[in-house]
Structures are given as structure tokens and as C-alpha cells.
């Protein structure tokens, strides 16, 4: 099913209330051409289930992996993704843009 914005935030609340560890990722800043606007959300649970998106699918895998850390540690992170290179997360945006993503635990 296609997730609409309000369903993503509702899922974040419901997942947390049902006792799952949950993290919320939000696009904070974009430069150049980026597929999802600032404010776009991705919600992730402790098992790696996710709903929503912060890019066109290019960096979701890396965000989910980082989100599992955030759920465990409780400490928010800011991730930056740019054109694919060795330094960042070994993934990049094929569109050539750069995005910064806030990942925070819901608790």
C-alpha cells in the first residue's frame, strides 16, 4: 500500500504504543535536485520494517541501518548523503543532489 504522509506519523505513534522500538527520519535540508522535500518522513521499527521515504529509494537502506542504532542508543543523528562516494555511507543519490536527514528515536 502507498503510504500517505499522515499515515506515516500515525504508524510511528501506533508502533511505539504497541511497544516496538521506533525511529523517525526527517529530511532536514536538501541541495540541488532531491527527490523528497524537506519535512518528508520515514518511520522505522526495531526489526527494520519501514514506511515512507526520504529519497527516491537510494538511501533508505542506509537510513534504516542507522535508525536501528538510534533506537538502541536513544541518541539522535544527522546523516548526510550526497553523490555516491567512498566517504559518506557508500550509497548516494543518483540524482546528484545532497540531503541531510535527522534520525530520532520516538519514546
Amino acid at each position: 500500500m502507498l503510504a500517505r504522509d499522515e499515515e506515516i506519523l500515525k504508524a510511528a505513534e501506533e508502533w511505539r504504543r504497541s511497544g516496538r522500538g521506533v525511529a523517525l527520519a526527517t529530511v532536514m535540508e536538501t541541495w540541488g535536485s532531491a527527490p523528497r522535500p524537506v519535512g518528508a518522513n520515514l518511520v522505522i521499527d526495531e526489526e527494520g520494517n519501514f514506511l515512507g521515504s526520504v529519497s527516491g529509494g537510494c538511501v533508505e537502506g542506509a537510513v534504516v541501518a542507522e535508525a536501528l542504532d538510534v533506537i538502541e542508543s536513544g541518541k539522535s543523528k544527522v546523516l548526510e548523503f550526497g553523490v555516491a562516494d567512498e566517504t559518506a555511507w557508500n550509497v548516494g543519490l543518483s540524482c546528484g543532489g545532497t540531503i541531510r536527514v535527522l534520525v530520532e528515536k520516538v519514546d
Partner: protein, 230 residues
């Protein structure tokens, strides 16, 4: 994000009220500002501007660098006419994120078989519309082609600040409609807001193609800056 902030935010969204989450980038401190509380907030100017634009983003304030996540209500699509075009437009609009409702007093049209999962009110617009949240986040589309139904609905929509109002009908039909509505006391400037003939010019022929043209026009009105939308 604390669960109580998320929960309060979801409650505002469900009630179709705008709200902004303010995150202090340095400390990570977070708070929710409801639209009704913006005027009394220390960051009033920045927040008011954001509410109007509906855009999230970073802002420099006296209190440091903050990230503002702006939540405006999901757009609403109110359609008069449980007609063939609506059978295509309703599911398309739902995919695009709209809450859709159809109003048509003709019970032969407004059936569950024709519209299995769209909320439908088989009532006259005068009865049905006041109960719906017709607001500035609403697109209103008149598709019955019947003045008895479309005219009162258009008068209702024009009196609210719907971001889009469109009506089915050729230039000729629309000219007659404008004349009728003027006679009923609707101002010329208000009537000029009605998009008719409805939809972007993409050569649409089938009901589904007309639905694409209408949804395209609504999207342009919602997303493009004012000077580019028309």
C-alpha cells in the same frame, strides 16, 4: 521525538489544524506549536511565515538554529456528482494524498457499487456541504452538469477560501452558469476563480483522462507559486 509530542501532532492533523514542530539543532530540544498558539510564540514571525508557505526547513532565530517541520492538513477534495469522471478521479486523488468525498442527491448515481470505497453523501449540497470541512485546504470540483446541484454547491465553495474551484462544462455552459450565479448575487471576482472548462489542456477524451487533467490542474494550484498556476 517524545511520544506525547507525536501524539499531540497526530491529534492536530486529524482535526485538520496546522502545527509546527520546532527542533533546536544544538540541543535537540523539541516542542509543538499549534497554529492557534503561533501568535503568542516568541518565534511568531518565523512561524507565521512558515505556516503560510507550508514549507519545512531550517531557520536562524534569536534562540539559535532551529529545524521547523510544518504540518498543514492533508488536502481535501469535495466533488459534486457521482458521475463517470468521479469514478476515476476519486481513486486517483486518494493516491495523490487527498481525502475525497462525493456529494450527489441522485441515488441512482450515488451507489456503493459505483463507488465501493469513497465516502459518499446522497444528499443535496445545501444539506451535505455545511457538515464537511470545506476550508482553505480544500479543492472543490462540480461535475454533475446539473445547475440544480452544481450551482448551490459552487456558491457554497466560493464563500469559503478553497484553494481550487473547478466546474465541468464548455465555455458556453460556463458563460450561462456565470450569468445565473451573478443573478444570485455572487461577485464577479469570485466567479473568476472558477476553473472552467475544467482541467489542464492535455486533449483528454475518456473519463479517466479528464480526471488526470483535473488532478493536474489541482496539483498545479496547490504546488506552483501563484503567478505560475493559472
Amino acid at each position: 521525538m517524545r511520544l506525547e509530542i507525536l501524539s499531540a501532532l497526530n491529534a492536530e492533523r486529524a482535526a485538520r489544524r496546522a502545527a509546527i514542530v520546532v527542533t533546536d539543532v544544538e540541543s535537540g530540544a523539541q516542542r509543538l506549536v499549534k497554529a492557534a498558539d503561533v501568535a503568542a510564540d516568541p518565534l511568531k514571525d518565523v512561524l507565521e511565515h512558515r505556516l503560510r508557505s507550508g514549507k519545512s526547513g531550517m531557520a536562524e532565530t534569536r534562540q539559535g538554529r532551529v529545524f521547523l517541520t510544518v504540518h498543514v492538513p492533508p488536502p481535501h477534495l469535495v466533488i459534486t456528482g457521482a458521475v463517470h469522471i468521479s469514478q476515476a478521479l476519486a481513486p486517483m486523488a486518494r493516491l495523490a494524498g487527498y481525502d475525497v468525498v462525493i456529494v450527489d442527491p441522485r441515488t441512482a448515481f450515488a451507489t456503493k457499487e459505483r463507488f465501493p470505497d469513497v465516502p459518499m453523501l446522497a444528499e443535496w449540497p445545501d444539506t451535505a456541504l455545511p457538515r464537511l470541512a470545506v476550508d482553505r485546504y480544500t479543492a472543490f470540483v462540480a461535475l454533475t452538469h446539473d445547475p440544480k446541484i452544481d450551482d448551490p454547491a459552487l456558491i457554497f465553495a466560493l464563500a469559503r477560501d478553497c484553494f481550487y474551484i473547478g466546474a465541468l462544462g464548455s465555455k458556453k455552459t460556463h458563460a450561462r452558469r456565470v450569468a445565473r450565479l451573478e443573478e444570485q448575487g455572487v461577485a464577479k471576482e469570485a466567479l473568476a476563480r472558477i476553473r472552467a472548462p475544467i482541467g489542464l489542456k492535455i486533449g483528454a477524451v475518456s473519463p479517466a483522462e479528464i480526471a488526470v487533467a483535473i488532478l493536474g490542474e489541482i496539483t498545479a494550484e496547490l504546488r506552483l507559486p501563484a503567478e505560475k498556476a493559472s
